[in-house]
């Protein structure tokens, strides 16, 4: 999500709407599995769409609000007519389509594009469906009363006492032109009027706020007739208190004939007054409504996360800042306890206190990191939708099994996992899993299983996408690799792993024809790259005929990293330990120049480019002979280069800090991914191995 801190309302809208859509999507998919729409589910869906409609209307996003409105209408009908005689799969299709539409509009909003999605086709479709099912059900006009109808008699004890000081007034009330809901306002006014008056009658008599009532009142005002002991001024003041009042006309009349307290309405005398309404001055009707079904939507706790109650939403920027400061704290703690001033001193009490200090800070660090950890559930659950859609389209029978979704990963990392996962799942469904007949012929169960698993392994998280499909065909890949000129060694020397890793190369695909979902050869390398960005890697294993498993390994957090600190040109740098293959001392004779003039080194029969760090970073140094320095071989995505450094200083855990903005904005510094503070207070730049590998290659 982008940063919209300039517009908190927009940010909140996007955040909440996305959350609601995800809830809704999960809800629909689990409904499809269970097979029916129960009342709770209907209420929940109604409520979610209602909320989205409300918010999007406030934000003036017409496309979203009209779609939400239509779905809300649909579910209103489904809710009222409790029969289940409607086409359930069509309904879930409609919802999912609406979700997609709204998602896309929100996505456009988020990236700052003004959305102009055309809601017409979708809302039209929904309305057609609505009229279809309305035609099926009894047409219950909801304008007539549901439930018990009470005729409320005018209050006060004035039925029998027609005292002298009871006066009859008639009044016409006009509300402000654009206040809206005039019928409701009228109802409110009449209700309040009962405090001081009796025998109230009014035109229009039906005070629901339908368009007609509102219009009547807008055009000809609300006409009322009532009796009260109060004086003209008192009554006038009372009526003038009405909110959004434009005009009130009040006259005292002596005519007491109207407003009788009995049921029958069409009295002869009334009609003779020459009014055009066929039913004049009706009684105030109050309908009591059964609140049970409509207003209270029961919490569908089984489907929603019950953890909503003890969760606080925190701005991610604040979390980042927190992590930053904790990182600084760790460094400054080291600077205190390892301070050169303390060297050689015996400080027992101090050491004790320092240890305690260290312990607390360590705990703080753990908690700070855990705050940013988010379970993979949300990301994993999204895959259900993809499996559902694709298995339908490809006519394959696929079940998605999710294991270990409660495994947590740093929030920053989660955003980068979603797309690669989607691609892997699509691949599995498109390429891996065979069509039903083929599976049957092979003796496999027709329902294919795709397993999405997450688990912790040391300081990393493993995410495995497994399928029981046809597996990778070693021959085919090898053949394609040879075609592309990628193979230089004899077949027998290549391990399965190496062969499979060819699929990670850009443009590589054994598919003759690209489908909508895959086969273009732009997938796996992008997956690998995205995973690389978050410091992880991808590997494949497969058994032909049985299935394929793709394992993604990602570090728990980007904030802390194992690194090897080295010196080059008198300055300190840190290389991520993960990227280091080996380090060694080389001889002058090992290096040579290739035809292009690049320096290369020969190691066990293989050639690798040599990158002299002091050259890359333009440093002054006296260590220029190969034999004086150390070579560190690093790798990125299967490519290796050798870095020439002055010396190795040591391995340690470092707190990764990003380069300051003003540097990032000024110029993209190649080869530097971040920086860190070492225990002695000096700054070490963290090398961007990927960038250096490209540079050297």
């Amino acid at each position: 999500m982008q940063d919209h801190t300039q517009e908190p309302l927009l940010e909140m809208f996007i955040f909440e709407t996305v959350q609601l859509l995800e809830q809704l999507e999960q809800l629909v998919i689990s409904i499809e599995k269970s097979g029916f729409f129960d009342q709770d589910a209907i209420n929940e869906i109604f409520r979610i769409m209602h909320t989205i409609k409300g918010s999007s209307t406030m934000m003036n996003i017409g496309s979203i609000s009209s779609v939400a409105h239509s779905v809300e209408d649909l579910f209103y009908i489904l809710r009222e007519n409790k029969t289940s005689g409607f086409d359930q799969s069509k309904v879930s299709d409609i919802i999912l389509e609406s979700i997609d539409f709204i998602k896309e509009e929100v996505r456009l909003l988020d990236s700052g594009v003004s959305n102009n999605g055309d809601a017409g086709p979708l809302t039209g479709k929904i309305r057609n469906f609505i009229s279809e099912i309305s035609g099926q059900q009894d047409n219950r006009q909801s304008t007539t009363a549901d439930g018990t109808e009470e005729q409320e008699y005018t209050e006060g004890s004035n039925d029998t006492n027609r005292q002298e000081n009871l006066k009859t007034y008639s009044s016409v009330i006009f509300f402000d032109d654009d206040c809206g809901m005039e019928g409701m306002r009228a109802f409110s006014l009449i209700h309040n009027l009962k405090d001081i008056a009796s025998d109230i009658s009014h035109i229009p008599e039906n005070l629901t706020s339908d368009a007609d009532t509102d219009t009547i009142i807008r055009n000809s005002g609300l006409k009322i007739r009532f009796m009260t002991e109060h004086t003209y001024e008192e009554v006038y003041n009372f009526l003038s208190q009405t909110i959004f009042l434009k005009k009130v006309e009040l006259t005292e009349t002596t005519d007491v004939a109207a407003g009788e307290t009995d049921d029958s309405r069409n009295k002869g005398n009334d009609e003779s007054r020459g009014e055009n309404d066929s039913r004049l001055y009706g009684q105030t009707e109050l309908r009591s409504v059964d609140p049970q079904q409509n207003v209270r939507s029961n919490d569908v706790s089984g489907r929603l996360s019950a953890s909503q109650h003890s969760i606080v939403s925190v701005n991610v920027a604040k979390l980042d800042k927190l992590m930053d400061l904790v990182g600084e704290l760790v460094i400054s703690e080291a600077m205190v306890t390892q301070n050169p001033d303390l060297e050689g001193l015996t400080l027992d009490n101090f050491q004790k206190a320092a240890r305690q200090h260290r312990k607390i800070i360590s705990e703080l660090q753990d908690i700070a990191m855990s705050i940013r950890m988010v379970p993979l559930s949300a990301t994993f659950q999204k895959m259900h939708r993809i499996v559902r859609d694709m298995s339908r389209k490809l006519d394959k029978d696929v079940r998605l099994e999710i294991i270990g979704e409660e495994t947590e990963v740093d929030k920053n990392i989660i955003e980068h996992i979603s797309d690669p996962l989607m691609h892997l799942i699509r691949n599995a469904l498109d390429h891996g899993i065979e069509p039903k007949e083929e599976r049957r012929a092979k003796g496999k169960p027709v329902t294919a299983v795709v397993t999405l698993e997450a688990k912790n392994a040391g300081g990393d998280v493993l995410i495995i996408v497994k399928d029981d499909g046809r597996g990778l065909n070693r021959q085919k890949i090898l053949a394609r690799a040879k075609e592309n000129g990628l193979v230089s060694r004899p077949d027998s020397e290549l391990t399965d792993k190496e062969i499979f890793s060819f699929v990670f190369l850009p443009g590589f695909s054994t598919k003759e024809k690209a489908t909508e979902y895959s086969g273009r050869g732009v997938g796996m390398d992008v997956v690998a790259k995205n995973i690389g960005v978050i410091g992880g890697n991808v590997s494949l294993s497969s058994v032909e005929g049985e299935g394929t498993a793709i394992t993604i390994k990602i570090p728990l957090t980007l904030a802390i990293m194992d690194g090897m600190t080295i010196a080059a040109g008198g300055h300190k740098y840190t290389i991520p330990t993960l990227s280091i293959r080996e380090s060694f001392k080389a001889k002058e004779t090992d290096v040579f120049q290739d035809p292009d003039g690049n320096e290369m080194i020969m190691i066990r029969g293989e050639c690798y480019p040599v990158l002299r760090l002091y050259e890359v970073f333009k440093l002054d140094t006296c260590v220029t002979n190969i034999s004086d320095g150390i070579i560190v071989m690093v790798e990125n995505q299967g490519k290796c280069i050798c870095l020439f450094t002055d010396e190795l200083i040591g391995e340690q855990q470092v707190v990764v800090k990003a380069l300051p903005d003003y540097i990032k904005k000024f110029k993209k510094v190649r080869g530097v991914a971040g920086c860190t503070l070492l225990g002695d207070g000096s700054i070490s730049l963290i090398l961007d191995i990927g960038g250096l590998v490209e540079y050297g290659a």
Partner: protein
């Protein structure tokens, strides 16, 4: 400055309303996302005004209204509803709500209603 308790199950609505209120000199002392919390907060903070959404899970606006009023008959409660919810507004009015505002909120309307509310009750 008059204090307000804003109640609505949608965070977005609460934020929108809060922004409008604070812009016009009101102080939002608390928010609640359902009727139960609304009653809790009311009893805890005794705000001058409560804006109460009608449709909420756990305990809807009408029930919350009734509870708040039975706890404090002088409570100033403004119901918030969407178009199409007249039936509930009626019920709310019958239960004792004096005022209502309609979503989508128009800032001028809200201000008019609140000013009216305060001038009456003084």
């Amino acid at each position: 400055m008059k204090s307000v308790l804003v109640v609505d199950d949608a965070s977005f609505m609460r934020l929108a309303l809060k922004t409008m209120l604070e812009k016009n000199g009101y102080k939002v002392v608390a928010e609640a996302e359902n009727g139960i919390k609304a009653v809790e907060k009311y009893k805890e903070l005794h705000p001058d005004i409560v804006t109460l959404d009608i449709t909420m899970p756990e305990m809807d606006g009408i029930s919350a209204l009734k509870e708040i009023l039975s706890y404090d008959p002088n409570a100033i409660v403004i119901m918030a509803s969407a178009l199409g919810q007249e039936v509930y507004i009626k019920e709310a009015i019958l239960a004792g709500a004096k005022y209502f505002i309609v979503k989508p909120f128009k800032e001028e309307h809200i201000v008019t209603v609140l000013n009216k509310v305060l001038s009456e009750r003084r």
